[in-house]
């Protein structure tokens, strides 16, 4: 039986996390279908049809799925589950809510945040903020899984030619009413898929000082992230948080500015290819995981770095 991947999108854009999840699915079985639940999501389904390795795209296009109400999407997934051996979604807030909910509806024990496929029933997942890797084997007849997207490559988004099949709307719950969303607007790349991430911590002192990091990020074509301390202090919104309980990132370059390097923060960025830390405390634990450390006051170092990049 084949693998079903739940696409993540906002009805106008397909998120790259879907491509990582298809790549993970392809390691389980070569037959992969994608489910698109949305409203006016025909373009998204068409894009999914072009992902390499996808056999069929199931498209549920209805107002029911305009917003990601877990209950509604779960009922839809449950209705299709008997055709599949595995159901995968990205380990984003979308997938992390959906998969365990759907799994419980189907009396299945979900497997969270896998970073490796060992075999069709055995997976590796980080536990304890990434301080241990657990290999877990499932005996459920259907495996329901969220995928740590940074651990898998992006499936090719252009070479596929799957057929798109329209599937039925399974109806909306009366329990949950969508009110509104307050989303961070940014021209910068999305944090979890950016090639460069510039993050600030408590050392930034206030939100205005993040403008320095934004400038740096723009120069490098990157995104801006933050530690929990910076989010808690209100310097930046919650969606900037990198870490065990925030977002997991693994860019080519991660620049940590005024961040001490607590294990909960490292959990979200230690798989980055190159880590640079700027910190005025030479004992800061972040230096122990950095490829390049610069023991300097950030208010000196960041403007100097900006000037150097501009002059290059």
């Amino acid at each position: 039986m084949s693998v079903l991947v739940i696409a993540e999108h906002d009805n106008s854009q397909l998120f790259p996390s879907t491509l990582n999840t298809v790549a993970a699915a392809s390691k389980i079985n070569s037959e992969v279908d994608v489910l698109v639940a949305g409203s006016d999501c025909g373009d998204i389904a068409a894009q999914c049809a072009k992902i390499a390795g996808v056999g069929k795209v199931l498209c549920a296009d209805a107002p029911t799925y305009a917003n990601e109400i877990t209950e509604n999407t779960a009922a839809l997934v449950k209705a299709h589950v008997s055709n599949y051996s595995h159901v995968l979604a990205p380990a984003s807030t979308f997938g992390k809510a959906l998969i365990p909910y759907t799994a419980a509806l189907c009396d299945v024990q979900a497997i969270s945040d896998i970073s490796e496929v060992v075999s069709e029933d055995t997976f590796v997942r980080p536990i304890y903020a990434g301080n241990a890797l657990q290999t877990v084997q499932s005996s459920d007849s259907v495996k329901m899984i969220t995928v740590r997207t940074t651990a898998f490559e992006l499936a090719d988004a252009e070479s596929g030619s799957a057929e798109v099949i329209t599937v039925e709307d399974f109806g909306a719950t009366d329990w949950v009413q969508f009110v509104d969303q307050n989303l961070s607007q940014s021209e910068r790349p999305e944090l979890t898929s950016a090639k460069v991430v510039v993050s600030g911590g408590r050392g930034m002192q206030n939100g205005d000082n993040f403008a320095m990091l934004e400038k740096l990020a723009d120069n490098l074509g990157g995104a801006v992230g933050a530690s929990r301390a910076a989010v808690d202090a209100g310097f930046v919104p919650n969606d900037y948080q990198v870490g065990q309980t925030g977002k997991v990132v693994a860019p080519d370059l991660y620049l940590a500015v005024g961040i001490s390097g607590a294990i909960q923060h490292l959990a979200g960025m230690k798989d980055s290819k190159v880590i640079v830390a700027i910190n005025n405390d030479e004992e800061a634990p972040i230096f122990q995981v950095s490829d390049y450390g610069w023991n300097e006051d950030l208010f000196v170092a960041v403007p100097a770095l900006q000037a150097e990049l501009e002059s290059n």
Binding site: L105, A110, S112, W175, F178, E296
Partner: protein
Amino acid sequence: MKILVPVKRVIDANIRVRVKADNTGVETANVKMAMNPFCEIAVEEALRLKEAGNAEEVIVVCVGPEKSAETIRTGLAMGADRGVHVATDERLEPLVIAKILKVVAEKEGTDLVILGKQSIDDDNNQTGQMLAAIMGRPLGSYISKIESSDGGFAITREIDAGLESLKITSPAVVTADLRLNEPRYASLPNIMKAKKKPIEVMSPEDLGVEVKNRTNVVRVDEPPAREAGIMVSSASELVDKLKNEAKVI
């Protein structure tokens, strides 16, 4: 309104865990334990709802071995009214925990269950979602705000793209994110008072829940270590390294 708060006992967030030499798990012997930080946030929110006159009783429940009673006491010292300890030495999966919590919630007739969004040990981030699904109650995951509204709840959720507001009906199941509140410390008099608060002990069997796991931990490994690199002392040196050595810019 009655609020149930499931709390979990975990290795303290400040401890650096070590994988056991035989690769069966992590070292837990003689390691400092604490209430899961997200559960502290959940207890705090329940207490605030009670203090604001929106709830009459806050019950904390923990599924786990004998020592879990300490975690329940922590909740009682924060201000919860009473405890339920579902005692078991078995390793239980979130689905089994959710089945146990369902029976407890139904027995207690709770209107609201507030869980942590995630345990910082197993990092599953599943139990609340599963509980909502099997109880057939609306789910509010990753909440940073909750208010009683029109007989239900108005909630704000922390999602990857920002914040989302929903209205959900009551009874409901919600999971607490970091910014919901800052939990209080238990005062000494409250710690003393908590010793007299009742904790009811029962087993999963008493609740009619079959303890049957679907997953098996094959092994637990140390992650690959990252080595410290070099220190630089100027912007030009750093840019040079990033360009010519690491080749990332």
